[in-house]
Subunit: 318 residues, 2 copies
């Protein structure tokens, strides 16, 4: 392994000078710097990140804890994030959570040991507040997509807005008996859109359970005469199954919008509410850079707007 000592010897300077040649804000004569850089290149020198890290307590590494919810969406997140981090010489360490067994607390502890310069996670609740509080003093925490800890920076999507947009689009095309299948947070966007349009919401058209079967959804559509459907996250899959059966059995075909633009949604050309992953990745990187450069302690909170992608499952004129 080539070290700065090898370069120093070859150039006839001290190791300190070599070190300076690689540091951007160090005083060094252009001539020696050039010579050092050239020899480093020749020798194939690569700095030892562990030695550097040990010295200045920085790992140049960002950790991300992925909730193992079989959401393929996260591969896109990872890709965008890694590509952006790379530009700033940060590396990405990943960690997965299992439903049973290895959990968030374990993942947080593992990341604590890794001494990452920043740690991105998507907590469901505040049950690990003890560990989280400890970590707050050791690294830069960032909540992604979910933000139960109010005193920790976050980058989240405005899902209420996203659902509202989807609902509005259906309403503007003449649909008023829209079935909503998903969580009780985002449903606000659904109610907002309806009330703005002067439509009285029918609670029978709202399924707030995350575990509805295709049968229940199908039955609901028929009995309540739903004329369109919005399906959130994994429930979108179930909605799709319900709609397939409905089409096969009753030859009924109603508009459908999926929340989260995942692979199968694209494949089947289904309209979807998508998230600007490039923007999200940019924000995350911005946070990390600012925290590690300026050492600002200000809370960083970003809310990004999802957007609607119109495809053939809502085949209207506009």
């Amino acid at each position: 392994m080539i070290t700065i000592k090898d370069i120093a010897d070859k150039c006839g300077v001290s190791i300190a000078t070599v070190s300076r040649a690689f540091s951007s804000n160090s005083i060094i004569s252009p001539h020696t710097k050039e010579k050092i850089l050239k020899t480093a290149e020749e020798l194939g020198y690569r700095p030892n990140l562990m030695a550097r890290g040990l010295k200045n307590s920085k790992t140049q590494t960002v950790g991300i804890i992925i909730p193992s919810i079989d959401n393929y969406f996260y591969l896109d997140v990872l890709k965008h994030l890694e590509l952006n981090l790379h530009k700033f010489s940060y590396r990405l360490l990943v960690n997965f959570i299992q439903h049973n067994g290895y959990n968030e607390a374990d993942a947080l502890c593992a990341m604590e040991d890794s001494q990452t310069d920043a740690l991105i996670f998507s907590p469901r609740n505040t049950q690990n507040s003890e560990i989280v509080n400890r970590l707050k003093n050791k690294t830069n925490l960032l909540q992604l997509f979910t933000a139960p800890y109010k005193d920790i920076s976050s980058v989240v999507t405005n899902d209420v807005y996203g659902v509202k947009k989807a609902t509005e689009y259906l309403i503007s095309n003449g649909y008023s008996r829209i079935l909503y299948v998903g969580g009780d947070e985002r449903v606000k966007g659904y109610f907002n859109a309806l009330s703005n349009a002067g439509i009285i919401a029918d609670n029978d058209l709202v399924l707030l359970n995350w575990e509805n079967s295709p049968e229940i959804i199908k039955e609901k559509i028929i009995s309540k005469k739903a004329d369109a459907v919005i399906g959130i996250a994994r429930q979108a899959e179930t909605v799709w199954h319900a709609l397939s059966r409905l089409y096969k059995d009753n030859h009924l075909n109603i508009p459908f919008i999926a929340y989260d633009d995942v692979n199968w949604v694209k494949m089947l050309d289904i309209s979807a509410v998508a998230h600007p992953l490039d923007k999200i990745a940019e924000y995350i990187v911005e946070y990390i850079i600012s925290r590690n450069k300026n050492n600002s302690e200000k809370l960083y909170k970003k809310i990004v707007k999802p957007f609607l992608i119109k495809r053939s499952s809502t085949n209207f004129s506009n």
Copy 2:
């Protein structure tokens, strides 16, 4: 930050003794060891991985370079791998390749700097042999899924076998004019199965191009009277599109097997050839552990067998 010095002070021993308490094969009296471990626990001591790494040139980190081919399959790979590595206190560093721009060479260099104890990658060809050769002396390289470098360890899937199994299944159910859409390597399994069954292969039923359009496939099925289809990797998506149109326009419904059991394939209940990811992850970990423990230099080569998952797209009696 709590260091071994803090523990040493509190216990009235030297830092060397504290270090010994944490090393499994060190001579230390059970009594002092117990006392040290207890104090460490109380103080909330966490070893500094960088200091440890600097000393013994081990990072306890494994790198993986993901070819950014939009294959969601890789999220599963990552998950299985990380979960297995975790058991042995290894961490996973990921890196993505872009089609244009940041490429395999860049990724390899980045990983070189990260000094990972092992590096997993999926090279398409041997064009980066220079960097690869340099890395061979610095880390433990492992080729995953593809193995163009013959002198480097690898874990690959037997895709010829996989395609053969799929073909055999179709044949055993009475189909003989099977359309194959995919690469020219795996097609061997297709020809094998046919010849074993005494069926003379029709070259018109083989599309070795990776960029066939749904129209071409649809037209092929009709003109060549194909009675079943096998679609490989991303071409499986195109096949599915062709089949949807065929069903809509001609009300023709023929059996279909997709190669690679990805999300949309599961969603649509399409029969598929899948890979034992848990087994693959186990092999990878076995390789890493053996290389970092025993320091064996033997080439590690594993070939795993894919398996067929029967679903409704091949709705036979067995």
